[in-house]
């Protein structure tokens, strides 16, 4: 609802749909999850506002992970892919101008990070980060290489499914979200304790990108479609009802 202070309340987060804080099978959550209930309150201006990111922020290759860290004339190793989709709010409306930041392992499953010591080699032509702004209808796209699964020390023989990390910035700080995109058909998805922190199978399904042959570029790259939903305004649903749209 809007009121005299100009505030527009966001729908409360559905905590039964989101992962709980404590998911013991994901070991790192044990000491890092609050044990007291969260204080649940309606949003205020402090949550309903957020920083603005403009195109001046972006460099020409920010959305091209195949080339943005590569030496001149070279490119990252691995299957070339296009990742794209729509960023929308809970009313289904596209979110324009949202900052989408991504990071990932290389085609051998190795991250470029000081704390990472996996056997697979670094690719000198792959940094592993990229970003873009969603367009007027909420669509985003970037090109990259398909990351590989990799082992991690959570439990014996634990492997992360291939994934790309996404950080999303809608217009309101209340919408702030970090998540991960998985790839359709990867059998490791259903064995992963991080994935299995999500309580509902449909929730997991919503993080699995679908092979999108319509967007694939012939003789160049396959495409994966991944739509993302951020929190929406209460008012939008109310308006739809009252106007009978």
């Amino acid at each position: 609802m809007s009121d005299e202070s100009g505030h527009h309340a966001y729908l409360p987060r559905d905590r039964s749909w989101q992962p709980p804080g404590l998911t013991p099978e994901y070991r790192s959550s044990r000491l890092r999850s609050p044990r007291q209930p969260l204080l649940r309150l309606p949003t205020t201006l402090s949550e309903e506002t957020g920083p603005v990111f403009g195109h001046a922020l972006l460099g020409p290759q920010d959305d091209d992970l195949i080339h943005n860290y590569a030496a001149a004339g070279e490119s990252a190793l691995g299957p070339r892919i296009l990742v794209h989709g729509q960023l929308r709010d809970q009313s289904g409306r596209g979110i324009a101008g949202a900052l989408v930041e991504v990071w990932q392992a290389n085609a051998g499953g190795r991250y470029r990070h000081r704390n990472e010591g996996y056997l697979a080699p670094l690719d000198p032509n792959f940094g592993g980060c990229g970003r873009c702004l969603s367009d007027a209808n909420g669509y985003y796209r970037f090109t990259t290489i398909q990351p590989a699964p990799y082992p991690w020390p959570n439990n014996p023989n634990a492997w992360r499914p291939a994934h790309i990390h996404f950080s999303l910035f809608g217009p309101a700080f209340a919408q702030r979200l970090i998540t991960q995109m998985y790839f359709e058909g990867d059998p490791l998805i259903w064995m992963c304790p991080i994935v299995n922190a999500i309580p509902h199978r449909q929730g997991v399904e919503s993080l699995i990108a679908r092979l999108d042959m319509d967007a694939a570029v012939s003789m160049d790259m396959l495409a994966w479609r991944f739509d993302i939903t951020l929190r929406g305004l209460e008012q939008t649903l109310f308006e739809n009802r009252s106007e009978g749209l």
Binding site: S5, P34, L39, T44, S46, W103, G128, C129, I194, A197
Partner: protein, 205 residues
């Protein structure tokens, strides 16, 4: 176009993981040459209006060990209590103030620190003024959904006592977990405890 009244489900959150720096602060993580500057590195510049303050502290896990791999984001109003955001329609905010910061915990000590200005007061939905505060969002390995909390100031005792959010904290002795302590010279110490007797009040807003 017909739209269902039932809202679409929000995309499930997943942990930012141990390598969040690669995507959110690549220059800091040693991946240089892609972005000119890591976003959120500076919240203000020399022209920003307001009282300069410095915030520093640690994020402790359930064993009392400081997190060395977390990232903390900050969002706040300008010195006049306006947000530099099109969603704040009450009037123009300070054009020299971004309001948003993103900082790593130190990889050795775990300390986070950011330089900013003291925010002004912002109205609650019912029109009452809130005490000056900074909104915080914490992500790290082991945190499945980013944690929201707020930082208030110990030199605002009068405003804090009637703050519409703080008065709803139950039990009231947990309010202390949301108050940064002045250390002099514009410095404020704010420690965050993920678990334990001093567990910080986290918000679901």
């Amino acid at each position: 176009m017909a739209r269902a009244n039932k809202p679409l489900p929000e995309s499930p959150s997943q942990t930012a993981g141990p390598y969040v720096h690669i995507g959110c602060m690549p220059n800091y993580s040693g991946i240089e040459g892609i972005y000119a500057e890591d976003p959120g590195r500076q919240i203000l510049d020399a022209r920003t209006s307001g009282t300069r303050i410095r915030i520093y502290g640690y994020i402790y896990d359930g064993d009392g060990a400081p997190l060395t791999d977390a990232v903390i984001e900050t969002w706040q109003a300008d010195a006049a209590g306006r947000y530099p955001s099109p969603q704040d329609t009450r009037g123009a905010a300070d054009v020299n103030f971004g309001g948003w910061g993103r900082k790593p915990c130190d990889p050795q000590t775990g300390e986070f620190r950011f330089a900013t200005i003291k925010p002004g007061r912002v109205p609650y939905p019912d029109g009452r003024l809130q005490a000056p505060h900074i909104t915080l969002w914490i992500v790290a390995r082991g945190i499945n959904v980013g944690l929201h909390t707020r930082l208030y100031f110990d030199d605002e005792a009068t405003a804090n006592a009637v703050d519409p959010l703080l008065v709803q904290v139950d039990p009231q002795d947990r309010v202390a977990t949301l108050i940064a302590k002045s250390t002099g010279g514009g410095g404020f110490r704010f420690d965050i405890h993920l678990q334990g007797a001093d567990e910080t009040v986290f918000l679901d807003m």
